[in-house]
Symmetry: C2
Amino acid sequence: MKVRKLTRTDARFERSPGQDGEIYSGNLVDQRDGGPVTIGYGRWLPHQRLKVELVVHDTMIVLEGEVWADTPDGTLHAGPGDIVYMPEGETVTIRTGECETITAYVTYPHWQVAEGGA
Amino acid sequence: MKVRKLTRTDARFERSPGQDGEIYSGNLVDQRDGGPVTIGYGRWLPHQRLKVELVVHDTMIVLEGEVWADTPDGTLHAGPGDIVYMPEGETVTIRTGECETITAYVTYPHWQVAEGGA
């Protein structure tokens, strides 16, 4: 695979699994590209909430807006430039507040394969 | 490992290997944490240049500033919110321009182990 530039406007956002709210994800690199990681962008409207039981190691970088992550050990808050690292096997609830929030994510291995998605 | 929030001000920046310029990196999650990925922040002063022969899969997210990536197929430009995906085995030269540039990175597997670093 070659070196690639990825940009948010290239992402085709689809509703993320496990919720019927306004949380969308768009992979730009995934299992179809032959590498080990999935890379994409997430778009969260205000006042959304998603409980995730992690089947992959998920690194989420906040680009715009902010999120709260409720974990068994307390609540983490992340704003622009912050990263939430969510290891496989953990359970976390991600929430947005007043802002639309844009994230980038890198998962190892591929989350859609692990979830039986794509 | 637990869910963690990472933030740039927690990074302890050290000069990145392979150059004596003003390019710094600071891991916040790496081989010492027991997971499969390394996560950190990069800080590039203006007018820097680094040729990298990739021994890991490296995902670089531009948070502030901008970079150019010279590849065998041409030059890519990435600004805030853009991602440069650099698969293992590729060679790329990353350059900065007038701006100090802040990046986040996620590597699989651990770059310091692959380079014989840490």
